[in-house]
C-alpha cells in the first residue's frame, strides 16, 4: 500500500511519509499503523490457519496418520491462541486505527506514539509464542483455555514463554484500547455528538471498555500461573490450599467478555455495510447502541456457563443458564434491525454486501447453537464435544472473520484509491462461503453424536463427517490465498475509485479523497458533513 499513499502527497503542505523501512518502524500515523496491524493479522491468520489444516489433515481419517498426539495438542492450542489474539483482535484494532479517526473527523489517534508501541509489541509477543514450538518439550499443549493443572503442573517447560507472550499481547491490547477510548471521547469533530457517531465507532468504544476491564484479569491469571510454576505458591493447587476450579472462574471472567470483544466490532462493520448496499438508513440506530451496551454488560455476569459441569449448585446452574439466554434478546434486536434495514431496500450484491449478508445468516446459526449450549441440562451432553467447536467457529469464522473480510473489501478502495477486482472478490466469497459450511456444519452432527473435541483420533462412526469437514477446511484455507492475491492486486492498481466509492455510502470517511491522504481532517470538517456521519 505504501507506493499508492506516497505518490499522492507531492502537492500539499503536509509532511508525507518517510521513506524506506524506517517509515514503518517509527510511524505514528494512524493509517500506517492500521495497515501494519492488518498485514500482521493476515500473516497470523495464515499461520493459525496452517495449524488448523494440520489438525484437519490428521482428522481426515480415523487413526493416527500424520502427527503424534502430543504435537496434535500443540496444534489445537496454538491454532486457538494465534487466531484469537493474533488474527481476529489485531485485525479489529487495525480497522479501528484506519477508520475511527476518519469517521469522527479527527486528525489522528489521541496518543500516536503509544499507538506505535502497541503495534510493535505484537511481533515480539507472537515470535516468542510461536518459538515455543521449537523448544524442548514442545509448545503449549493444554488448549487455548490453558486450564490448571494442565498448564501449571503438567505443561511443558515452554509454558513460561507462553505466559510472557500473553503478558505482552495483553499490554498491547490495553494500550490500543486506551487510545481508542480517549480518541473517541476527546477528538470528535466539534458538534459531533456521541449519538451521531457511526456504529463502528460505537461498538469499538464499548469493546475498548471491555478490553481494559478484562485484559488485566487475564494478565492476573497468567501471573498466578507463573507464581504457581516458579515461586511455590498454590493458587490452583489443592494440595497447598488452592483450587483448580478457581482457575476456570478467573479465566472465564476474562474469557466471556473476550468473546464479545471479538464480535462487537463485527456488528459495527455490518451495520455500516448493509445500509450502504440497501441504500437505506440503518434501521433502529439507537436500539443498536443500547443493544450493544446491554450485550457488553451481560457478558460480565454469565461466565460460568462455560463450566456447567464443574459441579455448581443447582441455583448457580439456573442463574447462569437464564442470564445467558437473556443475551439472545439484545442480539435478536440487532439481527432484526439488519434484516429490517434490508427490507424493501434497493439492494445490490457487491462483495462486501455478500460477506455482510452471510454474516447475518451464519452468525445467527452460531447464536442459536449457543442458545442450545446455554441450556444447563443439555450442556452436560454437549460439553467438550464437537458441537461446541461447531458453535464457536460459526460465530468466529463466518462471524468475526467474514466481517473483517467484508470491511477490507468495503474500505479497500478508500485506502488504496483503486477498486478491487469484483469478479475475483465474488469468487473468493463463494469459495469461502461453501468451504466454511462444508467445514463446520457436519461438526454439529458429530458433536451431538458424542465426538469429543481436542482428540487426534476418533471412533469409526464419525469418519464420514470428519472427512467432509476436512475437505471443507482445505477449500476454505486455500481460498484465502485468493484473498491475498486480490488485495495485492488492488494495492498495485486497478480502476480508480471515486471519493464516495459506493453509491449509497454515507459518513465522513467518504467525503475525503480516495486514496485517503496521509493526513486527514487536520482542520475539523464542517457540520454539513457531520449530519451524514452515520448511514
Amino acid at each position: 500500500m505504501s507506493a499508492v499513499i506516497e505518490e499522492h502527497h507531492h502537492d500539499d503542505h503536509h509532511h508525507g511519509p518517510a521513506k524506506g523501512i524506517m517509515r514503518w518502524v517509527f510511524t505514528t500515523n494512524h493509517k500506517d499503523i492500521g495497515t501494519l496491524y492488518l498485514w500482521f493479522s493476515f500473516a497470523m491468520f495464515l499461520l493459525g490457519g496452517s495449524f488448523a489444516l494440520v489438525i484437519r489433515a490428521e482428522l481426515f481419517q480415523p487413526g493416527l496418520q500424520i502427527v503424534e498426539p502430543e504435537f496434535f495438542n500443540q496444534m489445537t492450542t496454538m491454532h486457538g491462541l494465534i487466531m484469537v489474539f493474533g488474527a481476529v483482535m489485531p485485525a479489529f484494532v487495525g480497522l479501528a486505527n484506519w477508520l475511527v479517526p476518519m469517521m469522527i473527523g479527527a486528525p489522528d489517534m489521541a496518543l500516536p506514539r503509544m499507538n506505535n508501541y502497541s503495534f510493535w509489541i505484537l511481533p515480539f509477543a507472537f515470535t516468542m509464542l510461536a518459538s515455543t514450538l521449537l523448544m524442548e518439550g514442545g509448545g503449549p499443549n493444554f488448549g487455548w483455555t490453558f486450564y490448571a493443572p494442565l498448564s501449571t503442573e503438567q505443561g511443558p517447560p515452554s509454558t513460561t514463554f507462553f505466559i510472557f507472550a500473553v503478558h505482552l499481547m495483553g499490554i498491547s491490547s490495553i494500550m490500543g484500547s486506551i487510545n481508542v477510548i480517549v480518541t473517541i471521547l476527546n477528538l470528535r469533530a466539534p458538534g459531533l455528538t456521541l449519538m451521531q457517531m457511526p456504529l463502528f465507532v460505537w461498538t469499538w468504544l464499548i469493546t475498548a471498555f471491555l478490553l481494559i476491564a478484562v485484559m488485566p484479569v487475564l494478565a492476573g491469571v497468567v501471573t498466578m500461573m507463573l507464581m504457581d510454576i516458579h515461586f511455590g505458591t498454590a493458587f490452583f493447587n489443592a494440595g497447598g490450599g488452592g483450587d483448580p476450579v478457581l482457575f476456570q472462574h478467573v479465566f472465564w471472567f476474562f474469557g466471556h467478555p473476550e468473546v464479545y470483544i471479538m464480535i462487537l466490532p463485527a456488528f459495527g462493520v455490518v451495520s455500516a455495510i448493509i445500509p450502504t448496499f440497501a441504500r437505506k438508513r440503518l434501521f433502529g440506530y439507537a436500539s443498536m447502541v443500547y443493544a450493544t451496551s446491554s450485550i457488553a454488560f451481560l457478558s460480565f455476569i454469565v461466565w460460568a456457563h462455560h463450566m456447567f459441569t464443574v459441579g455448581m449448585p443447582l441455583a448457580g446452574e439456573l442463574y447462569f443458564m437464564y442470564a445467558t439466554m437473556l443475551i439472545a434478546i439484545p442480539t435478536g434486536v440487532k439481527v432484526f434491525n439488519w434484516v429490517a434495514t434490508m427490507w424493501q431496500g434497493a439492494m445490490t450484491f457487491e462483495t462486501p454486501m455478500l460477506f455482510a449478508i452471510a454474516f447475518v445468516i451464519l452468525f445467527t446459526i452460531g447464536g442459536l447453537s449457543g442458545l442450545m449450549l446455554a441450556i444447563g441440562p443439555a450442556d452436560f451432553q454437549y460439553h467438550d464435544t464437537y458441537f461446541v467447536v461447531a458453535h464457536f467457529h460459526y460465530v468466529l469464522v463466518p462471524g468475526s472473520v467474514f466481517s473483517i473480510m467484508a470491511a477490507v473489501y468495503y474500505w479497500l478502495p478508500k485506502w488504496t484509491g483503486n477498486m478491487y477486482d469484483e469478479a475475483l472478490g465474488k469468487l473468493h466469497f463463494w469459495l469461502s462461503f461453501v468451504g466454511i459450511n462444508v467445514l463446520f456444519f457436519p461438526q454439529h452432527f458429530v458433536g451431538l453424536a458424542g465426538m469429543p473435541r481436542r482428540v487426534p483420533d476418533y471412533n469409526l462412526q464419525f469418519a464420514d463427517y470428519n472427512m467432509v469437514s476436512s475437505v471443507g477446511a482445505f477449500l476454505f484455507g486455500f481460498s484465502q490465498l485468493l484473498f491475498l492475491f486480490i488485495v495485492i492486486k488492488c494495492v498495485r492498481g486497478g480502476v480508480k475509485a471515486t471519493d464516495q466509492v459506493w453509491e449509497g455510502a454515507h459518513g465522513l470517511e467518504w467525503t475525503i479523497p480516495s486514496p485517503a491522504p496521509y493526513h486527514t481532517f487536520t482542520t475539523p470538517p464542517d457540520l454539513k458533513d457531520i449530519s451524514e456521519a452515520h448511514g
Binding site: A110, L111, M114, E153, I174, I178, N179, I181, V182, T183, L185, N186, L187, I212, A213, V214, M215, P216, V217, L218, A219, G220, V221, M224, F231, G232, T233, A234, F235, N237, A238, G239, G240, G241, G242, D243, V245, L246, H249, V250, F253, G311, M312, P313, G316
Partner: protein, 186 residues
Amino acid sequence: MNESKQLDSAKRGAAKLVLVVVGMFGFGFALVPLYDIICDVTGLNGKTSGKYVSEQSLKIDEERTVTIQFLANNNAGMPWEFRPVSRSLEVTPGELNATEFFVRNPAKSSITGQAVPSVTPFRAAKYLHKTECFCFEQQQLASGETLQMPLRFIIDSEMPKDITKLTLSYTLYDITEQVSGDLAAD
C-alpha cells in the same frame, strides 16, 4: 485552536483508564479470597470448613441414622498407600464419631503429604463438623513409615432429612517441594 486542550484532556483520560487497568489487575487477585469466602459460606464445591468448636452441645437426633462413606485418593505422583480403616459408618446425627485412615510411605525418601477433603452431596458439606482431622495438618513420613491418622466428626442434626448418605473423600497431595521451599500456603 483548542487542539492542545484536547490533547491534555486526552492524556488525563488515558491516566484515568490506566487506573482502571491497575484496579482490574488487582480485582483478578481479589477473586482468590472472594472465591474462598463464597465457597465457605455456601459449602460450594463440597469444601468443608476448618476445625469445629461447638459452643453448645448439639442436639442428638435419635430418629434416624445416616450412612457416611470414606474415600481415599492419591493425587498424580503421590506414592503413598492411603486408605480408610473402615469404608463406611452408620452414624446418628449429633453424636461424636471417630475413625482412622491408614497411610504408608513406600518410597525411598521422606515425603510430606497434605490431604484435602471434599463432601458430596455438596449441600451436606456445611453439616459435617470435624472436631479433629488429619487434614488440618501436614504429615511427614520417613521411608517405610506407617501412620494411623485420626478423624473425629459430628453430623449436624439440622441436616435435611432427605440426605441419607454422604461421601467424605480425601485427596492426598505430595507437597514435599513446597514445604522445603517454606512457601506452602498453610
